[in-house]
């Protein structure tokens, strides 16, 4: 007999599997559960691992492809582990008017990464974002959930230095 589907062992740790299960248990009977589950998984694990898709799909009676389609549609969901901190740098017009493009070049150069990349020391993942709602105090960025305003290249360096100091 030829097996229809080969079950691969999950790459998730047992803790991660438990986190995925908790998210499914909490939401699966509520309407529109998929985004809340993905948020809960990313909050717990730091990203949405590919091996989380199968159990989520099962819980919601969806195909793995449908879940994959949703994960990849939204910029916020990550499919790779991030650095210890995620810096979302605003690229939108209000911040552009105050030098966001210069800040973006500076950030990429000083961290040695492009967008979606993680600095070599694992401290910072740099992501673009289109408006943080701090448009009168640009250029703006968000470190994890902390909004910052009037971020000059010098202030950016200070902020990164303090992130790295606390990470040690």
């Amino acid at each position: 007999m030829i097996p229809l589907k080969v079950e691969r062992p999950s790459s998730l740790t047992s803790e991660e599997q438990a986190a995925v299960q908790r998210a499914c248990d909490e939401w699966q009977d509520k309407p529109g559960a998929l985004l809340p589950i993905l948020h809960a998984v990313q909050d717990a694990i730091g990203f949405v691992p590919p091996d989380a898709l199968e159990p989520i799909a099962k819980a919601l009676n969806l195909s793995r492809a449908e879940v994959h389609g949703v994960v990849t549609f939204y910029h916020y969901f990550r499919t790779k582990r991030s650095g210890r901190h995620v810096v979302h740098l605003c690229r939108a017009e209000a911040c552009q008017s105050l030098g966001a493009a210069t800040l973006e070049r500076h950030a990429k150069r000083s961290l040695g990464v492009d967008f979606h990349g993680t600095s070599a020391d694992g401290a910072v993942t740099l992501e673009p974002v289109y408006c943080l709602g701090n448009c009168a105090l640009g250029p703006a960025l968000m470190i994890d959930e902390e909004l910052k305003g009037r971020v000059s290249p010098e202030r950016f360096d200070e902020l990164m230095r303090s992130l790295r100091a606390e990470a040690r």
């Binding site: 549609f73 910029h75 209000a94 448009c135």
Partner: protein
């Protein structure tokens, strides 16, 4: 001596400038001096260039100081301590908050409480006219609530300016048991933050407005679809919803009326397109945020296929005062078919950026210069983009346009959600046009071809145009592409992206022909 009442905003913009550190420094300094204070973390007054703006309450009102950094705490409290109930003098003083011209000249209806109350306190909300609109709504039948909203002239504040009353009436008249109220809190337009400020600074007013919408249309369940970029707003809303449940303003029996209304917050995940209402509904249902064909209208077949009222935060937040003070009161503000007030958001390269709620009819020039004081860089204003990333770039010659939906439309511009982004004369308008297409390409949901493919082709055409490769033909091609996107796209993302692009071409053609070396950097 009773405790000094000191206000330090908890608004995310104020916190982005160090309000938490300032609050801590004030508390520590007060303790050091043995000074009894009551520290209240209020919303922001919207004078954002003064953030962190600290206020001290004395007999005559509240006095403003800003921007206050932690190192200013000792001198500030020294002044407060020595003032004995009078206005303390300090180099950072701005006098009575209410008398600061930026604030004094506004007409704050929707933002009446923002910056004044403690957003975590339901008691404070009730003490400042909170839930009076709901009480008025509970005393009249649903159809009459809808009539009040229609008569007020309130139009959707998310950008499309569709009359709210008509939407509500359609939902009220729609057959079927389950109906929903959905708040579009996916405020993605660059240059806008009014939704955020209301949700953080006065979350109960949104809850009240949505509850009234539920009563008016027969919907017993509401969702606030909030963008992930607003974690502070999420915390504020969730705390307020919990408080409203505990006090019986939400739940199975709204304020003893026997009528149910449940409300919860759902988080978006970084997709600009989810600010489009049908895409938002798809996302709430747990799917990719792809735009739906219309009809059917969401009012008839919305969330999970059920009749749904879907409005922007400011629209819902404007409803309580309409029910409380009457449709006439609200309607008497404004001009033409734009009734009431619009909370404008002055942003970008501007000296005094912030939240300006005024009646429709003021000119752009008054906002830019009288309120804004020109650019932060001190250079001349060259262009302003009004209405978010899909809004037109307006040159100086259009600054006398009154803030009115129809007047802006006549200029091939749009007021949208009321964001105004200022650029000085170093801006490269060809780069801005290119960015508009790039943004559309990044954020397109992919459902329709003009938007999905047109935006990418648009970037390429602009690149060739600026490089001078057969420029005349490229411009013809770009305008033709814009026409196709305008008339061929399924929703406003592809349909309005040509606004910024064509406005750059029309008003700033020189930026598309200058040799690269002569261009100022963007």
């Amino acid at each position: 001596m009773s405790a000094l009442k000191i206000y330090v905003p908890r608004d995310a913009a104020a916190r982005s400038m160090g309000a938490d550190a300032t609050a801590h420094a004030i508390a520590a300094e007060a303790e050091r001096r043995g000074l009894e204070i009551q520290l209240i973390r209020n919303g922001s007054r919207g004078l954002l260039w003064l953030e962190p703006m600290v206020e001290l309450e004395v007999a005559g009102g509240r006095y403003a100081y800003g921007p206050v950094q932690p190192q200013d705490a000792p001198s500030l409290l020294e002044a407060f301590q020595g003032a004995a109930g009078r206005a303390p003098q300090h180099p950072l003083a701005h006098g009575l908050t209410e008398k600061i011209p930026y604030l004094e000249r506004q007409q704050r209806l929707t933002f009446a409480r923002v910056g004044i109350t403690d957003p975590t306190s339901l008691d404070d909300y009730l003490a400042h006219d909170g839930y009076r609109g709901l009480k008025a709504a509970l005393a009249i039948p649903p159809a009459q609530i809808v009539e009040h909203v229609t008569a007020s002239g309130l139009r959707g504040r998310g950008g499309a300016a569709f009359p709210a009353g008509i939407k509500w009436k359609t939902v009220l008249g729609a057959p079927g048991g389950q109906k929903y109220v959905v708040c579009n809190a996916d405020e993605g337009d660059s240059g806008t933050f009014s939704d955020r400020m209301v949700m953080e600074g006065d979350p109960f007013v949104l809850i009240e407005g949505m509850t009234i919408a539920g009563l008016a249309t027969g919907a017993d369940r509401g969702y606030i679809y909030l963008r992930w970029e607003y974690p502070d707003a999420r915390r504020a809303l969730e705390a307020a919803i919990q408080a409203a449940y505990q006090a019986g303003f939400l739940g199975a029996n709204v304020h003893g009326s026997g009528r149910p209304f449940d409300l919860e917050v759902r988080m978006g995940a970084g997709a600009y397109i989810c600010g489009e209402e049908t895409s938002l509904l798809e996302s709430l249902e747990g799917k990719r945020g792809q735009v739906r064909f219309k009809p059917p209208l969401p009012a008839l077949a919305g969330l999970f296929g059920k009749p749904t009222v879907i409005n922007n935060v400011i629209t819902f937040a404007s409803v309580p005062i309409i029910l409380d003070r009457g449709a006439e009161f609200y309607k008497n503000f404004g001009m033409g078919r734009s009734r009431g007030t619009l909370p404008l958001q002055l942003a970008g390269n501007v000296k005094r950026g912030g939240l300006i709620e005024v009646a429709f009819g003021m000119t752009l020039r008054e906002i830019l210069y009288d309120y804004g004081g020109g650019t932060l860089s001190g250079r001349p204003i060259r262009a302003v983009q009004v209405g978010g990333p899909l809004g037109a770039y307006m040159p100086e010659s259009q600054f006398d346009t009154p803030l009115d939906y129809e007047a802006f439309a006549a200029q091939k511009a749009m007021l949208g959600h009321g964001g105004i982004v200022v650029f000085d004369d170093t801006v490269d308008m060809a780069a801005q046009a290119r960015y508009a297409m790039e943004f559309c390409a990044i954020e397109s949901c992919g459902k329709c071809t003009p938007c999905r493919i047109g935006s990418t082709r648009g970037v390429e055409v602009i690149d060739r145009l600026v490089a001078g490769e057969n420029a005349g033909a490229q411009e013809v091609l770009l305008r033709d592409l814009c026409e196709t996107m305008t008339y061929g796209s399924l929703c406003a993302l592809g349909g309005l992206t040509p606004y910024p692009v064509v406005s750059c071409l029309n008003h700033f053609p020189e930026d598309f022909v200058k040799p690269k070396s002569a261009q100022a950097s963007a």
